[in-house]
Symmetry: C2
Subunit: 221 residues, 2 copies
Amino acid sequence: MARLFHVPLSPYCRKVRLSLAEKKIEVELVEEKYWEKDPDFLRRNPAGKVPVLRLDGQVMSESAAICEYIEETRPEPSLMPKTPEGRYEVRRLVGWFDDKFHHEVTAKLLYERVNKKVTGEGYPDSKNVKEGARAIKYHLDYMAWLLDHRRWLAGDQMTLADFAAAAHLSALDYISDVDWNRSSAVKDWYAKIKSRPAFRSILADQVPGFRPPAHYADLDF
Amino acid sequence: MARLFHVPLSPYCRKVRLSLAEKKIEVELVEEKYWEKDPDFLRRNPAGKVPVLRLDGQVMSESAAICEYIEETRPEPSLMPKTPEGRYEVRRLVGWFDDKFHHEVTAKLLYERVNKKVTGEGYPDSKNVKEGARAIKYHLDYMAWLLDHRRWLAGDQMTLADFAAAAHLSALDYISDVDWNRSSAVKDWYAKIKSRPAFRSILADQVPGFRPPAHYADLDF
């Protein structure tokens, strides 16, 4: 069986979990305290990060590369459009969320509030938290603008771009950092993706010391 | 003709320039002072970053997505292996350089020494510069280890992984931050890639206020 070394609230791990679940690939989840730099773990991934996936006899890292590999080797159900232009747009948005959104929002809210406590790095920096809380509004507005024109973020089909975005937003929702009232288009999109069977394992996550809000796992939030 | 909005020492822009040149796609280079946040530029790319490429009537951003698009629409000469495992390894290494190497090395050396001056953000932070100078050694050793087993970074074929790595290293070489004596395997690899016609435009770059070392454009360095 496939095995994923992960931490529950990592958006990169969640994106891979969503891909695996959507393709109905069974996976054993192993929590990996990557910040403790266990030598066995570093042998698996010299970058020292999660996710690390064991699949098809390989040990793989880098979530974008992993998701493309899963898509190429298990093309159904498809998470990528058929045209180069469509695939470009998916990859652009995956980059948007995993780089820009991560840097401006996830790193400033989730990492400050949760990772610092879990890894023993101290207290949240309130300047970062404020910046993150301001930046997420602009990103939710950008998503609303995309969803005004499209059924899903990258077009008419659900793709890896939706999983990348939902991975970040679901992790932030766990700590009540998403204002779902800001855009009904974004809320409707999240309700759609949240109700997929692939989302179940993510909605069942529990992080000791952090209790999610009541609406976190509620499909009718 | 294709048009690329770029800055000369950006490794992400250089990676796209190398891809375009290797595929013999003519391109007009336009320097874009992205930090001045010109409204016309922000309309082209709401992420406010370079590179931005106009090609096939589209305006594209995110260097990884751009390079995959070029590869899919102009498959010859190929910069990606034929197997999913091979492509995974290329994407893993592109992620390694554009995320990890960037974060640990390029941001700490090039951005401190050059970008801060060009954008008027002040003086280099010596702590960052020291960390970057230490981290590049570990990365050169990792490259040497890969090149002990392989002709090119991701396998027996030159790929986007080599362009990603060469884009970062060439920008750092412009400010004399690469110790080519650390590994003969890495030096030989760089000599091979540097001598390709695709590299010419990069070796001709000039950044006002920063003169490259004599060996920068020398193929026999």
